[in-house]
């Protein structure tokens, strides 16, 4: 009997994807890193990592290049996918959505993953829902997704 992968209040993702996000954040430090994890539309399953260029190249701001974003969003649409996770890093502050993050959050169905690389040894990795300006933290479960045969 199948159960939903992402319940209200939880994000499940594989260790491989989590490690890839952390590696991206570390590689771009001290600039903020950003990207998407796509998954089948309606499934809530984060499956396909899409690291994005931070067109702002800033230690305090990130922005997707508009034409790259069009290409990626069209590609997801062609594959019947949607953005399941929207991630970015903070390089000198904690892994919590800032006022700026909240005001720009525009994928109501996505999990917003924040990573902080402010400490060189210990990374912070947290996930949130952001809808109508309200932030709700959720549990992150690092585990293989059901059905991937690795359980």
């Amino acid at each position: 009997m199948s159960r939903p992968v992402t319940l209200a209040g939880m994000l499940t993702m594989s260790a491989e994807l989590r490690d890839a996000i952390v590696a991206h954040a570390r590689a771009d430090h001290p600039d903020e890193a950003c990207g998407v994890i796509a998954g089948p539309a309606g499934s809530g399953r984060p499956e396909r990592l899409i690291p994005m260029l931070n067109a702002e190249r800033s230690p305090t701001f990130y922005r997707f290049d508009s034409l790259e974003q069009l290409r990626i969003w069209r590609d997801m649409d062609d594959r019947d996918e949607e953005p399941v996770v929207m991630y970015h890093s903070h390089t000198a502050t904690g892994a919590y959505p800032s006022r700026t993050d909240i005001s720009y959050a525009s994928e109501p169905g996505a999990h917003y993953v924040l990573v902080s690389t402010r400490d060189p040894d210990e990374v912070e990795f947290r996930s949130f829902r952001i809808t109508d300006g309200v932030v709700t933290e959720e549990e992150v479960v690092i585990a293989p997704l059901p059905g991937t045969g690795a359980e």
Binding site: P59, T60, F61, S66, L67, S98, T100
Partner: protein, 92 residues
């Protein structure tokens, strides 16, 4: 003339949930005014008194309209307009 306008998830409250709507106009500005007649409030999410809203991306076919005249960009039969909220944020 029926121009397809693709609407992002966050704006589908204005279109009754539709991913795509149709409209017409000689320019992008005209097209948005036309859409607003049937989807009240949609134009306000795309345009403010300075023109196109800063963190909304509007594309005419494969181009970002910021580089081809913004609201004065001419629209032709068969064009597709795509709207995507810009993805951005920061630590403050």
């Amino acid at each position: 003339m029926a121009i397809e306008v693709r609407i992002p998830t966050i704006l589908r409250t204005y279109t009754g949930g539709a991913k795509s709507v149709e409209g017409s106009g000689d320019t992008l500005g005209d097209l948005f005014a036309d859409l607003d007649a049937r989807h009240g409030g949609l134009r306000d999410r795309l345009v403010d008194d300075t023109g196109l809203r800063r963190f909304v991306n509007v594309y005419l076919n494969d181009e970002d309209v910021r580089f081809i005249g913004g609201l004065s960009a001419p629209i032709r039969d068969g064009d597709t307009v795509t709207v995507l909220p810009a993805v951005a944020g920061g630590s403050r």
